[in-house]
Amino acid sequence: MSLVLANAWRIARRELRGGVGAMRIVIACLALGVAAIAAVGTLSRAVEEGLKADGRRILGGDLEVSVGYRPMPEEARAWIAERGGRLSAVTELRSMLVVEAGARERMLVELKAVDGAYPLYGAARLEPAMPLAEALAVRNGRPGLVAEAVVLERLKLRPGDTVRLGDGLFELRGVLAEEPDRVASPAVLGPRVMISAESLAATGLVQPGSLVRYEYRIRLPEGSDVGAFRSALEAAFRDGGWRIRTYAQAAPGVIRFVEQTALFLTLVGLTALLVGGIGVANGVTAWAESRRRTIATLKCLGAPAATVFAASALQLLAIAAIGIAIGLAAGLALPWVAAEALAGVLPVPPRFGVYPGPLGIAALFGLLTAATFALWPLARARAIPAVALFRDVVARAELRPGLGVVAANALLAALLVGLVVAVAEERRFAAAFCAGAAATLVLFRLGAAALKALAARAPRSQIPAVRLGLANLHRPGAPTGLMLVSLGLGLSTLAAVALIQGNIQRQVTETMPESAPAFFFIDIQNDQLERFDAIAAAQEGVGQVLRVPSLRARIVAVNGTPAEQLQVAPEAAWALRGDRGLTYAATPPEGTRIVAGSWWPADYRGEPLVSFDAALARGFGIGVGDTLTVNVLGRDVTLRIASLRDISWRSLGMNFTLVASPGLLEQAPHTHIATVHATRAAEAPLLRAVTDALPNVSAIRVREALEAVSRLLRQIGAALSSTGAITLLSGALVLAGAIAAGRRRRVYEAVVLKTLGATRRQVLAAYLVEFGVLGVTAGAIAAVVGTAASWAVVTFVMRGEWAFLPGTLAATVAACTVMTMAIGWAGTAVALRARPAPLLRTE
């Protein structure tokens, strides 16, 4: 064994001295795939590290207690103070900011009222620079206010201007350039505006039942056990309905988002590596082919097959190592470069560094891919007989490795799949990806077989170019399958990404607005209802006005089992994480689709009942007759499920997870929410009329909210597309490699054809027929695969409504054909230029 290895090593070293030749394609393919995966892994880790390292600053304390829609009781404050905790209270709500001059322009803002202790960690940066407390303090009888730059731009404000929030007047003191806890408590529907807690009362915005969130940040003395403090706090105030986060989980939603995006990008990167794997197989085959005489010679000289195999494997290993190393270096460098462009998208500045985890995983992916795809051609090289030296080049025996090789290859493939699933956050999705990828490979192989069979059976064309082109597809040893797969995988990925993106875009920009209202008005008080209705009715261009009571409730128990002990399906877990919309109604709201149970009688006054979201009920594993305990403004209320409803969230109508029977909840302090349909021209006057008359009411302009969502989706789409492009690049590389591998044969054929009287145009036409048919076939299969993949992702992962987008597909197929023909032409043009004489001479 040691002799075998020693000899193999010697041979490998000597052969590698001559350069890597045909293996350049292997290096390039591995480098591309590994780079994509390493880059995605490094960037997402850097972002997560950034989040982790800054956890206290991001959260704004060691812990945050979300009390919900009422302030924290005094006893709890005292309890915290007794244990040395410093408390900072932050109140968040939405409001209209109105300019107290000129045309009285206004916009919806996310208002944050902070106390003197804010922020407990980090600092708010203002422009012009000044301490936050000074900026928010009362000066000349007016409290101060700072706002994000966009507010100043949109409303054409300057520091010193006067603005109104509800009933309160404020002096704008400056720009809020950096808000330390922006990531953990983001401003979603409008830009951030900050005032002091003392000045909030004068605005009159906080009314019974208003959508006001109270959050309390706690800074513990240096060295305190945050976990223990949290447990003690939870134990002491068990019934508070609070949600407590520690700095270690400052932004779980953001981390989830980063992880999901990273998973998507990693899978796209894996597709690139998969395509690269085909390039590896191809490159190794070509390389083995070029070493045929060497191998035969070695065998003639007495080298055992094991030595030949080991020598080949060692060379491949060295070459794979080069490719992987290049890939890792690129994967490490890329995020640095990309960070500049991504600055606006990333939630926190990434903490760059060499993270061995993601790099190791990327390297392992590269190595396993190389091994999986190279084993077969290597085993074939091992089987090259010594007699190959003396046999005619065209008369080649089929070399078939044994069962052991088949088993080993299957094992390698299984390891690769295992690794994909093991490192993925969402295992089922990753497993589905692997199954899909395998099915796609099989589909392209079948497609290639069908194409070859069809080309062989096609009626003989009178046009030699067509006949030659088709013959090239089905002739013995034609790389039709290889070219189809290499090109098709990349295109399938791109088609899938394009279709997913198209579907998202379509849902946001096309489907929604048709039925979507122009405004959501929130925080309408009971005594303002009549006035609101009158104003809306008086405005020209205002259509349907829907108004319902609105409460916020947190689901705290199901059938008596506390929420934190519930086992629910992952897709329903979101419903337990925060507050859900709750309303009450005597009769089913318009458009209600009851799928189980029945609605209560209009005059029902018995035990509190609820109509629940059918999808969530499925996820919770409950149905009609079960109970839900919800916490409403600090009070637990148990509701029995009377019916289940199908809710179409995308309708952007008045959708409530929970609709309760009237009675009990009518007594709870609450406000009303209204949707108003209006023509575009009527929007501005309506907004002005409502918010002038009812200063505490806030308006959410649906168009603007949709635009914000659309912007975010575009950014995600861009990330997907660019990663998808790597797959296509990889595919193009493999295709070019396949063409390069067959170049000698093509040049020879072209020369013989020219010798027999073929013009260059005829030879070129034959190539165009060959690559054109190949491109159209690859495009057609890619269209099918891309459609299926996008359907699966949109339907099962995004839970959206999938639509067929023929335009996108047609563009994909067309681009595919053109690209194949271009690459094919570029790769074979050299064959047309070849001078015949040198090739036709015998030795």
Binding site: D392, V394, A395, R396, R460, Q462, P464, R467, A471, N472, R475, P476, G477, A478, R745, E749, V752, L753, K754, T755, L756, G757, A758, T759, R760, R761, Q762, R835, P836, A837, L840, R841, T842
Partner: protein, 244 residues
């Protein structure tokens, strides 16, 4: 042997160029190599009348194969002129040369040079197809039958023996009824008996079709079957003799 030589003066051969099928004047061919320029042909002149059979003989590296490549328009001369069937080859571009071959020349190589991915009949049909002939395949099969391969039409080159491959190449060379057959060591890759059978076939077809034959060989006995032998040495014509 010297007694059989009838050296023709260059002037005489130039005179004959007017009515000859092939007229070569002052032909030279040079290639650049790392060691400097190599002159492979150094001012070769001769002409061949229609229907003649000419053997070109000479030692390895003498330039005889290069001469044949130039006659077939497969390489470009460095100087001089080659007139074949009324066309000045040195003035034609690549595609025109291809058409010239298609219409006037059949070539048989030592290494057969069949397209490995096409069957015997497809290989033979190629020159006709390039010329846009409608019944290319039936005529290809006819040609294959002529060389005794009627039963091998659907076989790929790799499935044929060396002799069969060369016979296929022969069928391909004659299928379009060219005025000239250029044969470069056609028996070089074949054993004696097979080679002899292929040559019998070649000469038989030539006689039957009245084709002009240029045969490059270093087999004296083969050369002797031609009516005329041009001997080349070191890029020059050493002798040009008609056999009685």
């Amino acid at each position: 042997m010297d007694a059989m030589v009838s050296g023709l003066p260059l002037a005489a051969s130039a005179e004959r160029a007017e009515e000859s099928l092939i007229a070569v004047r002052d032909l030279s061919f040079t290639v650049a190599s790392a060691a400097g320029q190599i002159n492979i042909l150094k001012g070769v002149s001769f002409s061949v009348a229609a229907g003649e059979a000419v053997a070109v003989v000479g030692p390895s590296g003498s330039g005889k194969s290069t001469l044949m490549m130039l006659l077939g328009g497969l390489d470009r001369a460095s100087g001089g002129s080659i007139r074949v069937a009324g066309q000045e080859l040195t003035a034609l571009d690549e595609d025109a040369l291809a058409r010239f071959r298609r219409d006037h020349v059949g070539i048989v190589f030592q290494s057969f040079h069949l397209v490995p991915t096409m069957t015997a009949e497809e290989n033979v049909a190629l020159p006709l197809e390039f010329a846009g002939v409608g019944d290319a395949l039936p005529r290809a099969r006819e040609a294959l039958a002529r060389v005794g391969l009627a039963h091998r039409t659907r076989h790929y080159p790799a499935q044929l023996s060396g002799g069969e491959q060369q016979r296929t190449a022969l069928a391909r060379a004659i299928v379009a009824r060219p005025a000239i057959i250029l044969a470069d060591e056609p028996t070089g890759n074949l054993d004696g008996a097979t080679g002899a059978a292929v040559m019998d076939l070649l000469f038989g077809l030539r006689a039957e079709l009245g084709t002009t034959l240029i045969l490059v060989t270093h087999d004296e006995r083969l050369a002797a079957r031609c009516g005329r032998i041009i001997a080349i040495a070191d890029g020059r014509i050493e002798s040009d003799r008609a056999l009685s």
